[in-house]
């Protein structure tokens, strides 16, 4: 919001004016005129084009979202008051709904999810090798030690150290 010019900022604020018509019924034109766009001689069409361009500007859209959020937060005290009134008056048409809503938040309904995780990855080479080693150990214990697997490798004959 702070990044906008004063005129554009006024356009955003005008879109949330309590007197503004609804969207699709001249809201953008109303906001443009309220923000000071156009002149007394500007045609209705040129104001609409100008307003539409403003409304499609990403910076204006970001500012409108920021302003709407702040606006809703500002409405919170009124919302709390309305709920409190509905709870206080047993004849209020939304008395039960408001009461249930507050109770749900004070003592939330418990929902249990059962999540089953299945792991279908093949065992790693290390795990498989450990199993193979234990199998070899079982054979040794049974007194049937087989020939050890042949390991290929290079070797070098070292000369005996002198002295």
């Amino acid at each position: 919001m702070a990044a906008l010019s004063e005129k554009r900022r006024a356009f955003v604020i005008a879109m949330f004016d309590p007197d503004a018509p609804q969207e699709g019924r001249g809201l953008l034109k109303f906001a443009a005129i309220r923000a000071g766009y156009g002149s007394p001689t500007s045609s209705d069409n040129s104001i609409r084009v100008m307003a539409s361009r403003l409304a499609h500007d990403p910076r204006i859209q970001a500012a409108a979202a920021e302003y709407a959020q702040a606006h809703i937060r500002a409405l919170a005290p009124n919302a709390v008051r309305a709920v409190r009134d509905a709870i206080a008056d047993p004849r209020h048409k939304d008395h039960i709904r408001a009461t249930a809503m507050v109770l749900d938040r004070v003592d939330p309904l418990e929902t249990t999810h059962t999540v089953r995780v299945e792991d279908h990855r093949p065992p790693s080479i290390e795990v498989t090798q450990k199993v193979l080693d234990r199998i070899e150990e079982l054979m040794r214990r049974a007194g049937l030690a087989p020939k050890a697997p042949v390991i290929d490798g290079d070797f070098k004959v070292l000369e005996e150290a002198k002295g």
């Binding site: 299945e118 792991d119 279908h120 093949p122 065992p123 795990v127 498989t128 199993v131 193979l132 234990r134 199998i135 079982l138 054979m139 214990r141 049974a142 049937l144 087989p146 020939k147 697997p149 042949v150 290929d152």
Partner: protein, 143 residues
Amino acid sequence: MNNAPEPYTPEGHAAWLDSLSADELLVIHMPSGYRFIFIAVALAKRGLENHKSADQLLLLKKINGLTDQNFTPEMLATIEPMGDTEYAIFKEARSLDAGDKASMAGFEVLTSPRVFWHLVTLNPSLLKAIKLREGASRNGDLR
């Protein structure tokens, strides 16, 4: 018996085959699926010794259902129950299948030449059955 050398080279594989005895070659030339059937039969026969009669009947039905023209009733009769060490090896291999219903890792370990040869060493009836299979194959009785 060792497993085939890896990575595969024609020379290395040929040298490995040359190092094997006639019995070991018989095992090598039997498809791994049949090696597993032989293990399963030895395991089931062990189960027959240790289970109640209702389970015994189920096991008997299952192992008799395995016979066909490639795995004859004679081979089935030849295989003796798995001993304790064989069973311990079987359980070790199956421990690789935790959560895997297809049991592929355990299958590969059990049917690998080296481990299967251990089982043959511990239970020589497996080799007798393999020789029956080889004989039937030579006579053209197997499909």
